[in-house]
Symmetry: C2
Subunit: 492 residues, 2 copies
């Protein structure tokens, strides 16, 4: 089964596509650019949602739901935001089909049902939400508003890739409103920290926190903060963004509040989001040529138990033990599968659960029953060991914790090896071509230089790291002075 | 605060709208027919989702996600389904906006970005899902497929009402595929039972299970099963449907499987759904002129603690006790709010939580501290009693259970009083006009009679109850023979 997956060394892109398909995570649909998220892929998304939703609620946010459609006049109110998304918007122009007189039994768009004003299918919801906040906010007592939405959005991408870039994707978008700039900035940074913690603690994926250059900023934001992760092919992936919107949307939608002194002020805003793209990041951060490697905290199945048997009698004996173990593990809150299918060989099952990234596999055969043991295999290192039946239940949670930590440590080590300083443009290009990864280099701060470097090397400024040290230097491209290094990479 | 809500006796429709708005559940958006579900309303939906999702998973279903858009040629493949929804479809025709040369800073639909094939925004997902199932199903080993989707759908309704009928709504739609007709019918009925159990156990809303007449069937189904509830104004509300699709979608999308004997057969299907409409049903089933009455199992806040104090010192003492109680209740898994806002009077807070339907209110004043007591008030009956501080924590869960049961019993008693038999058309009309509710009457089984009764009385056949007894009689309209009574009502 593993053999059907292209190896990473042969073709990393194809490995990714093979893995997404063979592991039953997602597939392309017959609708241009839109994917079907299959049950196994969706169950990973559900795990992500649960963890994130709790983190949002623990930081005082509540969920709500706003319309899918945005009238064009509302959409265009914040001009930079509108301009940024205009080229990738799906537009609803009609609200009815009718029978096609020329094709019996078939339908056509009813020209009499043309909308007076076209509706944009949301590519993001700032416009619809701030037009609503205008009605909700009158006084400082109405602030802050700390609202999140779980939703689907549409961005008409021309080149799509499962999870990483699709016309429709699922995400959460937080939209908050505040009385002061300082409070909004604090919220922006808090949510960046929440994302970083989620990426590192749950996804076992180390990230670099930073702020985007002007050219990479969210359209309509004053500042865009981001977390950037490193994939195994040395390319970067933006895993989440948190935007300080200033008063831009308050200006566009005239959202004002009366402050404690009775004066009218404009409201300050933030927005922040992560999407099903994270599933792509999760795959590319940890998986190998045999399939997925999932961190236990996001694995839909923690433990699979595979019986090894020659006849019904053996299976019956093993089943009793296996079901006992499964029951005890489930009491600990773990998700356990006992795969007692009789028509498939153990080797086939082993390969299947390696492909699916199940962190721990327990195999039980007749000899194990005699010896009072089981074989425990971990997916991340492929190590196996014989464990006594008496202690297996008590050891699993520790093993899962160990796997979670090991996957993180491995990814961190890899990432650290992939951060290189460059002090000349020649070095910069050499590193990108030969080693890949992140390159820390001085930049003169101009959009012009950023654009030229991008055109010539396909590397973009991923972020200006929040922990960047003050350090005087010269821009690798223009030689002009610079006071800190920024993080470049080729990216997804 | 309560006074701002129109009373049910004055104008039931206006009472409903007032309540939805004043209790901060939802509001109309600036997008025609689309609502904004506000945080408090959404938190009820989250409670519903959690309970239903668990019930779906406990019956072997998994979640997945399919595209929002359906290409027109795919949409029209199952002709009856397409015809049924054609008149209420939002249609995407373009994929880009561009700068409007006549309106600087504004946008227009780019005529060069017209889609070759229009996309229907899903009103329901049978078409897109069965076109996908075709790829997933080859053998009997691939069956059954038991998949659910949580999603938004669009049906272009001309007259909308918050929660009950909106252009966009949130729902879940189950879509299953089976090897035999019997298995698909069993699934259809199982999910009807799940919906009935959810309605009765969680929503505390008794329902009548039945099957729809041909005229009320889901377009593309062989049979539509439903649960019907009774609202306080004597009108019925369809609260959930479960459809046996036969092989209709397998025929439309050529979905076949090889059976155990190696022969090709068409796949059998079901689909079933409930939506945010249930929030409307929940409101109309239980609430009163002072606000929401929420069953504890779906209440976002179970208990509110309101301190009664004259000064900071009193508040401090009360807070210690209140926070102790809150902590203990939270350990039991309850959601508790301690409302220590200093600028609002207790009476205002009492009214607010009555409006919001919080099942239990605990008030603590200085005299309570002296006496070692608290005042506990239940929302459903408005009864108050003094409880000792020592026993309040241990009594709350029992009180919540009692409230859940009482709300159900009350609704059941009301519903039972609202089911009347009619044996003549004159009686039938009289009951509808004077008493309302469900009317059990004989019907000749023809669409013609059903249509005439609907035109003349606005009453529709809600369902043929599953527990209808065989009983020979004469159709109230045509006098033709009938072998069982069906359930009529005016309905939402």
């Amino acid at each position: 089964m593993g053999k059907e997956i292209t190896s990473r060394a042969t073709d990393y892109s194809q490995w990714y596509i093979d893995l997404v398909k063979k592991a039953d995570l997602a597939e392309n649909s017959d609708v241009r650019g839109c994917m079907v998220i299959k049950p196994y892929g969706y169950s990973i998304w559900e795990k992500m949602q649960q963890a994130l939703d709790k983190m949002f609620k623990d930081t005082g946010h509540v969920n709500a739901y706003f319309p899918l459609f945005v009238p064009k006049s509302m959409f265009e109110a914040e001009e930079k935001n509108a301009e940024g998304f205009a080229k990738e918007c799906a537009i609803v122009t009609h609200y009815r089909l009718k029978n096609d007189p020329n094709r019996p039994g078939k339908l056509m768009v009813d020209p009499d049902a043309k909308l007076e004003e076209e509706l944009v299918v949301r590519p993001t919801s700032e416009a619809i939400i701030w037009s609503t906040y205008k009605k909700w906010i009158q006084s400082y007592r109405d602030l802050p508003l700390l609202i999140n939405q779980w939703a689907n959005v549409i961005r008409w991408e021309m080149r799509t890739r499962l999870f990483l870039r699709t016309a429709e994707f699922l995400w959460q978008e937080g939209h908050t409103a505040h009385a002061t700039s300082a409070e909004a900035i604090a919220e922006t940074k808090q949510m960046l920290d929440v994302y970083a913690e989620f990426a590192e603690t749950f996804m076992a994926m180390p990230v670099i926190k930073g702020v985007k250059s002007e050219g990479e900023r969210f359209p309509g934001a004053i500042d865009t903060y981001c977390i950037e992760a490193m994939m195994q092919d040395g390319k970067a992936l933006q895993a989440g963004t948190s935007h300080f919107l200033g008063q831009n949307f308050a200006n566009a939608f005239d959202v004002q509040f009366t402050n404690k002194e009775g004066k009218l002020e404009k409201v300050w805003g933030t927005s922040w989001g992560v999407s099903t793209r994270l599933i792509g990041a999760l795959i590319m951060a940890h998986s190998d040529d045999d399939g997925l490697v999932l961190p236990p905290k996001l694995a839909p199945i923690h433990v699979v138990i595979v019986p090894i048997f020659k006849n019904e009698e053996e299976l019956a004996k093993i089943s009793t033990k296996a079901e006992g173990i499964a029951k005890e593990l489930r009491k600990q809150g773990l998700s356990v599968k006992f795969d007692n299918r009789e028509n498939l060989k153990p080797g086939f099952k082993f390969a299947e659960y390696e492909l699916k990234g199940v962190p721990v596999r327990i195999a039980i055969g007749p000899r194990d029953l005699e010896n009072g043991t089981v074989e425990v295999a971990r997916r991340d290192t492929k190590e196996k060991k014989v464990v006594s039946l008496d202690s297996v239940v008590s050891e699993i949670q520790g093993l899962l914790d160990n796997i979670q930590q090991n996957i993180y440590d491995r990814a961190l080590k890899f990432r650290e090896e992939k951060v290189t300083k460059a002090d000349s443009y020649a070095d910069f290009k050499k590193i990108l071509d030969e080693k890949g990864g992140f390159v820390l280099a001085h930049w003169d701060g101009t959009a012009e230089t950023e654009g030229l470097i991008k055109d010539e090397t396909k590397a973009t400024i991923r972020c200006i790291p929040l922990d960047a040290k003050e350090e005087s230097g010269a821009c690798i491209y223009s030689g002009k002075p610079s006071n800190k290094r920024v993080l470049f990479a080729r990216a997804y």
